[in-house]
Symmetry: C2
Subunit: 389 residues, 2 copies
């Protein structure tokens, strides 16, 4: 166990109707709000009206930035910063999933930086201050509603990079599971794969992980495999939606990472997919995680696969190797049951010539050859992409 600092200051209002807390949460930080959202689904399902109605009733001024992309682009960040400065915004109010909240986070720090915000995305040491964020979550997946990071894309440079700072924790987030009832089956499935991927980045690490965090990892994975298929089949199952929503926040809010370390190899490998192909991040994660687990299964990781089988899938066998293979089969079956394909070809990556540049970029930019137990060489990354075919 390594020493750690634990600090998750985000306040969560969880449950049906918790949007009622919105005015109180906002007014703690000011009276001028920027509402951010994506393609406008929140206008169809009534969430926009709920939120904006409360702003109007409470005399809270607001501007809007809509059209935030599924992989939020630096251009949207630039637009948001401009509005914040012009309208003297006090608080950001993203309504959506991880993309919208991530975009808000980049705007929050970009407002206080004089140069172009892409510079701050590429060099987090330039972060000095952030506007407060209150979020309303509509998709259980990235955990951005309760974490300190943000991933921003730059289409022009075919690049994707991460902002990370304790200043990025939203001040408060509203988690109403009924707000996820209208998430389509495919995106629900991708969200579940995304939640699981956040655990996998630590789970097979050889470090001595503190028992409380280890137990929480199993707990979150178990919640995903139990409720993922239910939420895909019954979109209005509130129990399934609620458990997944809360699991998503805890998978990445910083808690399970306390006392261990990871270079997040699978995310590095996946970012290359969303940079090149039209695939939601969570679906890309399912493809990569599956291939990566097959790649890393060896004598050292065997006990951790056995634990994954026992604690998550309740599979126990005499022979650990057999158990490990069974658990890989169960994981694959789970993804497929939720409707996720598991090959690169299925997402339009016909051409294997991209393997080398993807492997190169993943390993170099994310420092995956860090000597840790889950270190990946460029050759290893290539092999993992090969397994995806």
């Amino acid at each position: 166990m390594e020493n750690f600092i634990y600090h998750i200051p985000t306040k969560i209002a969880f449950g049906r109707g918790q949007i009622q807390m919105l005015p109180e949460f906002l007014k703690e930080y000011g009276n001028r709000v920027l509402v951010l959202y994506g393609g406008g689904s929140i206008k169809q399902n009534g969430i926009y009206d709920d939120a904006v109605g409360l702003l109007q009733e409470n005399g809270i001024f607001f501007s809007e930035l809509s059209g935030i992309e599924p992989n939020p682009q630096i251009d949207s960040v630039r637009k948001g910063i401009e509005i914040c400065r012009r309208k003297k915004i006090d608080v950001l109010l993203p309504i959506g999933g991880g993309s919208t909240i991530d975009c808000a986070k980049a705007i929050a720090v970009g407002v206080f930086y004089e140069g172009d915000p892409w510079e701050i995305v590429k060099d987090n040491s330039l972060i000095t201050k952030a506007l407060p964020i209150v979020s309303i979550l509509t998709v259980a997946a990235t955990g951005s509603e309760m974490d300190a990071s943000s991933v921003i894309s730059n289409a022009k440079e075919k690049d994707k990079a991460e902002l990370f700072s304790e200043l990025l924790y939203p001040k408060a987030s509203i988690l109403d599971p009924t707000y996820t009832f209208t998430v389509p089956a495919y995106h629900t499935a991708a969200g579940v794969a995304d939640i699981m991927s956040h655990i996998f980045e630590y789970y097979f690490n050889g470090d001595r992980i503190p028992d409380i965090q280890r137990g929480m990892m199993n707990n979150i994975l178990r919640t995903c495999i139990v409720y993922g298929p239910i939420a895909v089949k019954e979109p209005k199952n509130e129990c399934a939606r609620a458990n997944l929503m809360w699991a998503a926040s805890w998978a990445i809010n910083g808690f399970i990472a306390c006392g261990t370390a990871s270079s997040w190899p699978c995310h590095a490998l996946e970012y290359q997919l969303t940079n090149r192909y039209h695939v939601p991040h969570g679906h890309g994660m399912a493809i990569i995680d599956m291939a990566w687990m097959k790649y890393i299964l060896n004598e050292t990781t065997l006990p951790m696969f056995a634990e994954y089988g026992k604690e998550v899938f309740r599979i126990e066998g005499e022979d650990p190797l057999q158990t490990a293979r069974a658990v890989l089969g169960e994981t694959e079956a789970l993804y497929r049951e939720m409707g996720l394909t598991l090959t690169l070809r299925s997402i339009g990556a016909e051409d294997k010539s991209e393997i080398l540049p993807m492997a190169k970029q993943a390993v170099e930019e994310f420092g995956l050859t860090d000597g840790s137990s889950l270190s990946l060489s460029r050759e290893a990354a290539e092999q993992i992409y090969e397994i995806c075919y």
Copy 2:
């Protein structure tokens, strides 16, 4: 699942040597500190020197309040308030276990109240403001280092009552497991029983507890039964001490309570013991919890006892009632293995005539006949005390 608000703002620095963070943590809130501690064991084991050395090196002014009792008395609170006002204290620095931190919390709110602080303990609505608290933990038990409550005793009135307010979360706490190496075996055992008791107050509740919280409860109980006996036998086992320390914080910081409810019946029953007999709270909890579990075992609670057996003790049987009895036996064996006796007679309660007044006070003052699934009548409370003989 009920709606809930989650907000645990305390920052934790966990691990060997984390006391180095102390100056940074304190300076965020001011430069005038009140150091609080108990009987002076921190002067023998070097923790006092570590802390005070850092204060001196960093030019931080400090006063002291020592001699805080194992069940902190309102008189100590009064003394502390007087010092804070006279010395213009900015931050409280309790070094110790739950008693010392609890005392600091009462002082923190009492400073801003003009009347006698016992009034505020008995009527929490009088709380308006609190001095910031940075704590250094030396005993894994009450979880006061990361929670919003404080229990204060009033020897003169043979009374004990609770302060509860979000303002009471310490701003930061330093959790160095090596600081618990010198906790004697008996107090280590009582601490483990205390941690477990915080879970039991929710565990057998018939409500639909969110899966993530339910999993965390099993996780914490499992950590206690695995590492409790080890820490009792090997006081310098850092792994055992670290896991217990972190489990203690999570047992009561507010997380597991999210989405469920409890009137804390066992604590109400136990407070009557520490009010009357010389027994540490954790030991009292072991006695009460054991009797209470026997009392509440019925058809409704049977599945929860079966889960407790399966997830915590890894006992699985064909017959649920047999499993439940086996798990009661295992719990009893665990307490005894750690050296805790389990009868009222063993703590000097020879006279059964106290049963009625204890039952009456527990049920009336703590509102235990609240109609919830774990509601207790006065007669039920009497029966539970009877089982303790």
